[in-house]
């Protein structure tokens, strides 16, 4: 087994014991990226010199027996909507093709403080808007289990990086399922933290009241490790909660005295592929076999979740993306006449079709005469969706269902049908609207050999419980050990 196929925990052990240097580890992953990134397009930017330099510094400090952070020497890939000082941060958009932020996002600072190696920036749907990675201005990342298929989105590049063993860990962002859905489609673990658990400072905003940075990894332990490194209070984000961060990884294997798992009726409805349903129902039996109580619950307002999401997220996006106007940074058209024309041309040239669609939708939803009927109504429904979950969590520890209604579809299959594309997030979206934490873990494969993801949801700030429930299943199964076979 190649070193790149190891989990982050295994690599950390080797690094810690001095069996391998950080430089050698970085070199292995850089080699893997060199071999496979042309096909998979997981990474948009990889600064080899910078990476090796970071690794050598960790090695030097380890040789001198200086204290090192918990992720010392471990490469982590960063979604390209997260600011990295002096390194390109394009958000998968042409409008930021030449943008290099003068500062690090909070999560990046935390990774540097943990002595992780920042391993380049990963491909994503433009401004995190999409479910297939096909909205990247730099071409789609491809699913390592079948490169003719999409990896999911919007954090597709991060999912592919981990799944294809180009990085042991990655950060994604999840606004409506953008960590969990690509994790499911690529056969890895992806966690969306509760809203406010992780600082959004330095994360290019899409839907500010929904966005969260989340860890992506081969298994639950790695996921817990990375979450521990990035979670916690940051006074620069007013929505970030000041709540202690548990040692998630330490308590993973603690048994449950009792465990009640809720199955939302609405998550097993029309549109769910039978292969996915079978795999998820089989997972339910695994839990039942470990003594969990299984209970059917109802989330009656979840049928409005998709509509609510596409009003709230796009309304916020229409305002968040207003700053990309060519005046202060980013792409500016060269042939404009006057200010308004500069705005129109810069944005017209810089943004892709889906971003334009969502900005228009959100602008409309906030416009005078429509605001009450759309945006404000959506806020009310959002409250009802949250109430549904509150009731469900009053009687269940976690909720269980599929992450995505289908396995990875083919590139181009849904490009011309945005509504069909939006359905890819139907099970993940309500978790963002309600501010919950959620995780997707591998739970099987389709007949065609494509991964299937199991979604678990828990109440806000219940990440510790969520991870333990996920780990319980993982211990009993071996889906998480599979790696795609790729031409090297």
């Amino acid at each position: 087994m190649s070193r790149t196929q190891l989990t982050a925990s295994q690599l950390l052990d080797q690094l810690h014991r001095g069996e391998v240097t950080a430089e050698a580890v970085a070199d292995d992953f850089l080699r893997a990226i060199g071999d496979r990134n042309t096909l998979l397009q997981a990474f948009l930017h990889v600064d080899e010199d910078d990476i090796l330099q970071q690794a050598r510094q960790v090695d030097t400090r380890r040789r001198r027996s200086e204290p090192l952070g918990p992720l010392a020497g471990l490469p982590v890939a960063i979604k390209d909507v997260i600011c990295t000082k002096g390194q390109p941060t394009t958000a998968g958009s042409k409008i930021l093709a030449n943008f290099r932020p003068p500062y690090d996002a909070h999560v990046v600072e935390r990774l540097r403080a943990a002595d992780a190696i920042l391993l380049g920036k990963t491909n994503c749907d433009e401004f995190a808007m999409g479910s297939s990675n096909e909205n990247s201005a730099y071409g789609p990342a491809r699913n390592p289990w079948d490169p003719s298929r999409i990896p999911g989105g919007s954090s597709g590049g991060s999912a592919v990086a981990v799944a294809a063993c180009l990085a042991p860990l990655a950060l994604g962002t999840d606004t409506g399922g953008s960590v969990r859905q690509p994790a499911a489609l690529c056969g890895i673990v992806g966690l969306k933290p509760s809203y406010g658990r992780v600082s959004r400072y330095g994360v290019l905003a899409y839907g500010s009241s929904l966005d969260q940075v989340g860890p992506m990894s081969h298994d639950v332990r790695d996921c817990a490790l990375l979450l521990e490194a990035i979670a916690g209070h940051d006074p620069r984000d007013a929505t970030c909660v000041d709540h202690p961060v548990p040692r998630y990884a330490q308590r993973l294997d603690e048994p449950f005295a009792s465990l009640t798992i809720g199955l939302p009726r609405e998550f097993f409805a029309e549109g769910l592929s039978s292969e996915v349903e079978q795999a998820v129902r089989a997972a339910v039996e695994v839990y039942r076999g470990h003594g969990a109580t299984i209970r059917e619950v109802s989330l009656p307002h979840s049928k409005y979740a998709l509509a609510t999401y596409y009003l709230v997220a796009t309304a916020e996006a229409s305002s968040n993306l207003a700053r990309y106007d060519g005046a202060h940074f980013g792409h500016r058209s060269t042939d404009h006449r006057g200010l308004i024309d500069m705005y129109c041309k810069s944005r017209g040239q810089g943004f892709g079709a889906e971003v334009k669609r969502r900005v228009m939708l959100g602008t409309y939803a906030l416009s005078s005469g429509y605001r009450d009927a759309y945006y404000l109504k959506a806020l009310k429904v959002r409250r009802l969706i949250r109430d549904d979950f509150d009731r469900a969590f009053a009687e269940c520890d976690v909720l269980l269902g599929p992450t995505s209604p289908t396995v990875a579809f083919s590139l181009g299959e849904r490009v011309s049908d945005p509504l069909a594309m939006y359905l890819a997030d139907i099970y993940t979206i309500s978790g963002n609207l309600a501010g919950l934490c959620g995780i997707s873990i591998p739970c099987g494969f389709s007949a065609s050999g494509l991964p299937i993801g199991l979604q678990l949801l828990a109440a806000p700030l219940e990440e510790e419980k969520l991870l333990r429930v996920a780990r319980l299943y993982e211990r009993a199964t071996d889906w998480h050990l599979r790696r795609p076979s790729l031409p090297s």
């Binding site: 997260i82 600011c83 941060t89 958000a91 930021l96 943008f99 932020p101 003068p102 500062y103 996002a105 959004r200 400072y201 330095g202 994360v203 290019l204 905003a205 839907g207 500010s208 009241s209 006074p235 620069r236 984000d237 007013a238 929505t239 309304a315 916020e316 229409s318 305002s319 207003a322 700053r323 990309y324 106007d325 005046a327 202060h328 940074f329 200010l339 705005y343 602008t363 906030l366 416009s367 005078s368 605001r371 945006y375």
Partner: protein, 492 residues
């Protein structure tokens, strides 16, 4: 019968820049006049990924102002985004308070020639300031520049009801607002530096002949009036302009012609039409998801209320009744600031003569401050000592020049009044026999003045009095000299 051709209706929108060390949503400084774009960071530059965090101090200054303006305070407020595109606003939205302003339904009292008038306040809310555009004014079509130092500076917008009914009232309102905000430490209100800005909404009501009711002209908003004088001039000019326009065009009426904005051209002394607001701009307001709502609880509100101190309107009334000062004296004292009022009160307490205290403070003390620079706190002459000087002056009947000399001595050598008098070797002659001698000598030396006096020119006595005073270098009490002189002249 009302003979006025029209009545002026004015409402003011005032923006005051809050006296915070840092901006409203980031840690950048707010010093005026720094090098362009030197007081900026990712947050106020609106860089991708940056997030705002509320400056609690700014909110508290807003609360302080709202309380002083007698507003009801919103116990739950939030921040909203006002969306519009302009290069001085790098995010292309302004963070403001839309439907839940922190204060609403208050008032400010102004002192008009007809007495105290209460002007209603519709609302006051906080918002972030925009940057400054530096347009190329040579007309060469070169790029415009933008300075973002001011971007994100906290502003309090205060909107009055249209209850000001003359150019003078508009000016008085703005002056009173400035005084209040300065007294409260909410703003330094430097109009030249833009920390106090004012837009005036003006129209007129034209009474019609019997049974014809009242006609109103369309509202014109005069933007960015940056002095009290310009405000007064602009309102006066605009009202008359509207009247003349209505005379030419009877269809120039509110409801028929939409609201317009205008600027004030100080060179020509005219308002200059800018644009008509055919439709209200759609700012697509919505709650800023990056900021959390602000809950104002009782404890917080009480603490801010406790910080307010005495408000100018209450102080004005008290100074009038407690010290029997004229409205003019109260006005002069208060215009010198709260510190001076406190200095006055201490002086008056010590000397028990408020009128004399006001005169000393507004004349000698102000002149001293002007010469030396600095403020009262740095003056070596305390209010206690000034009070003692005034009391001594009365007690000894010192004339103005002598008292001034004592004052200068006290000030320059940091002396008590007694020590200063001692040092100046001022001997006050209270022995009447000695005065009689002096007066008799003066009478003997000035036969012409005595003759004039006897012919009925009583003013001639002043010549004799002056001679005595000169001879004694002012060390005798003038009233004693006068009395003795009268007696001696009558006798002779």
């Amino acid at each position: 019968m009302n003979t006025q051709k029209y009545h002026i209706v004015v409402g003011l929108e005032v923006h005051v820049q809050l006296l915070t060390r840092t901006k409203l949503f980031c840690g950048c400084g707010t010093v005026f006049g720094a090098a362009p774009n030197s007081q900026t960071c990712p947050v106020c530059l609106g860089l991708p990924g940056s997030l705002p965090v509320m400056n609690r101090r700014a909110f508290e200054l807003g609360l302080r102002a709202a309380l002083a303006l007698n507003c009801s305070i919103a116990r739950f407020t939030k921040w909203d985004r006002k969306n519009y595109y302009y290069p001085d606003l790098p995010k292309n939205y302004q963070i403001s308070q839309y439907d839940l302003p922190l204060g609403s339904e208050g008032w400010l009292e102004i002192n008009t020639s007809q007495g105290i008038k209460r002007i209603g306040i519709i609302r006051c809310h906080l918002e972030e300031d925009a940057g400054k555009m530096l347009h190329d004014e040579r007309g060469t079509g070169r790029d415009s520049l933008v300075d973002l130092n001011r971007t994100g500076t906290p502003l309090l917008e205060i909107v009055s009801k249209p209850e000001l009914s003359s150019p003078e009232e508009a000016r008085l309102y703005l002056e009173e607002m400035r005084l209040l905000m300065r007294e409260l430490g909410v703003s330094d209100c430097e109009m030249q530096e833009g920390s106090l800005r004012c837009d005036a909404n003006v129209n007129i009501r034209i009474p019609q002949a019997e049974g014809g009711g009242v006609l109103a002209t369309p509202i014109v908003e005069i933007k960015n009036l940056n002095s009290f004088r310009f405000l007064e001039q602009a309102v006066r000019y605009e009202a008359q302009r509207q009247y003349e326009q209505w005379q030419k065009d009877p269809g120039y009426l509110l409801g028929k012609v939409s609201k317009a904005t205008a600027g004030w051209d100080e060179a020509s002394g005219r308002t200059v039409f800018q644009r008509r607001k055919e439709e209200a701009a759609d700012y697509r307001y919505f709650p800023d998801p990056d900021l959390i709502p602000v809950i104002v609880d009782d404890a917080w509100l009480e603490r801010i209320r406790g910080e307010l101190g005495e408000l100018p309107s209450a102080m004005r009334k008290r100074l009038g009744t407690q010290y029997g000062l004229s409205e003019y004296d109260v006005g002069v004292l208060m215009s010198l600031g709260r510190q001076t009022v406190a200095y006055f009160e201490e002086t008056a307490r010590v000397c028990q003569d408020a009128k004399a205290a006001v005169n000393w403070i507004t004349n000698q003390v102000q002149a001293t401050l002007k010469d030396r620079g600095g403020d009262l706190a740095e003056l070596p002459l305390s209010a206690q000592r000034l009070g003692e000087l005034i009391a001594k002056q009365k007690e000894l009947g010192l004339n103005k020049q002598t008292a001034q000399a004592v004052y200068d001595k006290m000030l320059h050598e940091d002396l008590e009044v007694a020590a200063a008098i001692e040092a100046l070797q001022i001997r006050v002659v209270t022995d009447t026999n000695a005065v009689v001698e002096l007066v008799r000598a003066a009478i003997a030396a000035n036969p012409k003045a005595v003759a004039d006096y006897k012919k009925g020119k009583t003013a001639a006595a002043n010549v004799l009095k002056g001679a005595v005073m000169r001879q004694t270098k002012g060390s005798v009490r003038a009233d004693v000299v006068e009395a003795v002189l009268k007696e001696e002249l009558e006798r002779g």
